[in-house]
């Protein structure tokens, strides 16, 4: 099944065509990566797909349903979740509470129940705590549950965002550079986490600059450059594509691109 499909998706900011006629067709149950040089539109594509931006042109389908123009919260309730490149942590809350917020779409209480603490709220809180703890355990943060979220190190915050997104039990999860700023050990952990997520039947769309991670884990890779699709295919196909290497050459220099692709 195609879980996420975009057709001629486009958006411009001022004169900059940040995303320009991008077609995606992502099969469910796999890791699908989107790569490209800095400023090529990867985050913008995520913002379009998750409803933060409304496209100027083109359409989006989520599991076959037309969802173009829906708000982020409406998409979340249809099973889409994501993390952020520049962290969006609830820093005043504890680590556990952050993940509890991820359970929001599964919580069924009303404002009166909440104000008067009806038994349903107590039960709900309990269930939410349990699910949140389970999500924290998956990213190896169970021991930090009661710490203030603001006190975690950068790598841990990246994993916290993944746990929070997982707690919402998405069918489609967008990860925007989960391994950025992580050391090799942490990157290895992220790799393991992503694999376990996919094993649960969640489709992962990954934006990532760490080419080793991308090449190892992806079923297919979509390469963007200046908002347009450069190529799309399996890791082998993408690796052997000259245009891709050239797109990176201009940005990273030949040495780095060689290291990245071989």
């Amino acid at each position: 099944m195609i879980i996420l499909q975009t057709d001629q998706l486009s958006i411009a900011f001022g004169g900059v065509r940040a995303i320009d006629g991008v077609n995606l067709a992502i099969e469910s149950g796999q890791v699908y990566s989107i790569i490209g040089p800095n400023g090529s539109g990867k985050t913008t594509l995520f913002n379009l797909v998750s409803g933060i931006y409304t496209p100027d042109d083109g359409s989006i389908r989520l599991a076959g349903e037309a969802v173009t123009g829906l708000a982020p919260d409406q998409l979340a309730r249809r099973g889409l979740s994501r993390t952020f490149q520049n962290l969006q942590i609830f820093s005043r809350m504890s680590v556990l509470e952050n993940v509890m917020v991820g359970r929001h779409r599964h919580e069924r209480t009303g404002i009166f129940a909440d104000l008067f603490h009806w038994p349903s709220v107590a039960r709900q809180n309990q269930a939410t705590v349990e699910a949140a703890r389970a999500a924290l355990a998956r990213v190896d943060l169970a021991d930090s549950a009661s710490r203030p979220a603001g006190s975690l190190a950068y790598g841990a915050l990246k994993r916290l965002e993944i746990a929070r997104a997982l707690a919402s039990e998405p069918t489609l999860l967008l990860l925007d550079e989960p391994a950025a700023g992580c050391n090799p050990v942490e990157t290895e952990e992220i790799d393991g986490v992503i694999r376990s997520i996919v094993k649960d039947g969640i489709t992962v769309v990954l934006v990532e600059h760490d080419m080793r991670l991308v090449m190892n884990i992806s079923s297919r890779i979509h390469v963007l450059a200046s908002g347009r699709t450069l190529t799309e295919g399996t890791p082998e196909q993408v690796r052997s594509n000259v245009a891709v290497v050239q797109a990176y050459l201009g940005i990273h220099g030949s040495q780095e691109s060689n290291r990245a692709f071989h």
Partner: protein, 314 residues
């Protein structure tokens, strides 16, 4: 689970104990009056704190809802013959409805823009109360019929002390319940990152509106009590200074601290009374003390003191 429940309501229990114990230390009946005023203001401040400290949405016009509540217990009994206690509820309902209508367009604004829009709302209410003299008595205000509960004519400061104290404890319980509920977590999340809250399925606009309505109802009840307690009401109750006073109480006591709401209200009600001995320097001294408080307890009294104690224990 048991301990969770107990810790959740602990502040309410502490306040209940304070309300009951305090009168044993009152040297004169005058202190009941001060105590009642503190509790009434604290009620409004708890509501405003839910909005500001908790959900992160400022309101510089909250006295407008004090005004709606206050004039409800005048207009209802005088023009429609309704019992005063019923008008407290009617006022809260009207305030909630007004907050709903006003909140929909203005809660889309953020930060300073929201501040100015709410400020405008407060001014609007004050001007309507001043100009609609046929209903409100204009700038001179009106005298407020006494509250009668069954056959009991409520007049003494001590009666109001107990009524306001009991209501405040109730207000604490509701606020504390809310904080540890799905809605409460959603509101806190909105404070820190609206975008992340949205992406997790939270209807941000609706949650903001909900808490705006609730905080308006808190203020409305406080306004009704204030009018009934004073026996007279003027449009000043909805004025800009009153709104600022409420905000100052929230910030001084501690943003997001329910206990802080009581502390902030207590300091700003008691201090001016205590400073009257300095005559013309009263206001200046009050201003100076506020500055010193904020410089040394920059997160507000309760959170700053709590952090100091937590630090010592380590």
């Amino acid at each position: 689970m048991r301990t969770l429940l107990e810790t959740r309501l602990l502040p309410a229990i502490v306040v209940a104990v304070i309300v009951v114990i305090l009168p044993y230390f009152f040297p004169s009946a005058y202190y009941f009056r001060v105590g009642a005023l503190v509790f009434i203001f604290a009620l409004a401040v708890v509501g405003l704190n839910l909005l500001m400290g908790f959900a992160g949405q400022v309101s510089l016009g909250h006295a407008g809802f004090l005004g709606i509540g206050a004039y409800s217990v005048v207009i209802g009994p005088v023009y429609f013959g309704l019992p005063s206690w019923l008008c407290v509820f009617v006022g809260a309902t009207v305030s909630g409805a007004v907050a709903f209508l006003v909140g929909r367009p203005i809660l889309r604004l953020k930060g300073h823009y929201l501040a100015v829009a709410t400020l405008g709302f407060g001014l609007l209410v004050a001007i309507v109360l001043t100009n609609e003299a046929g209903w409100t008595g204009g700038p001179d205000g009106m005298s407020v019929p006494r509250l009668a509960l069954f056959n009991w004519q409520v007049r003494g400061s001590d009666s109001w002390y107990w009524i306001a104290g009991a209501t405040l404890v109730g207000g604490f319980v509701l606020a504390l319940n809310l904080m540890e509920s799905p809605t409460g977590r959603a509101l806190q999340a909105i404070h820190d990152s609206e975008i992340a809250a949205l992406v997790l399925g939270i209807d941000v606009a609706r949650k903001k509106l909900t808490i705006f309505v609730i905080s308006a109802m808190y203020a409305s009840v406080a306004g009704s009590y204030l009018a009934l307690f004073n026996g007279h009401v003027t449009p000043d109750i909805a004025g800009f200074l009153r709104s600022i006073e409420l905000v100052a109480m929230v910030v001084l006591g501690g943003m997001g601290s329910i206990v802080g709401s009581l502390v902030g209200a207590a300091v700003l009600v008691v201090l001016p009374q205590a400073l009257t001995i300095f005559h013309e320097y009263e206001q200046a001294l009050l201003g100076f003390i506020l500055m010193v408080f904020m410089i040394f307890l920059r997160r507000g009294i309760v959170p700053s003191v709590a952090a100091t104690f937590a630090g010592r224990r380590k």
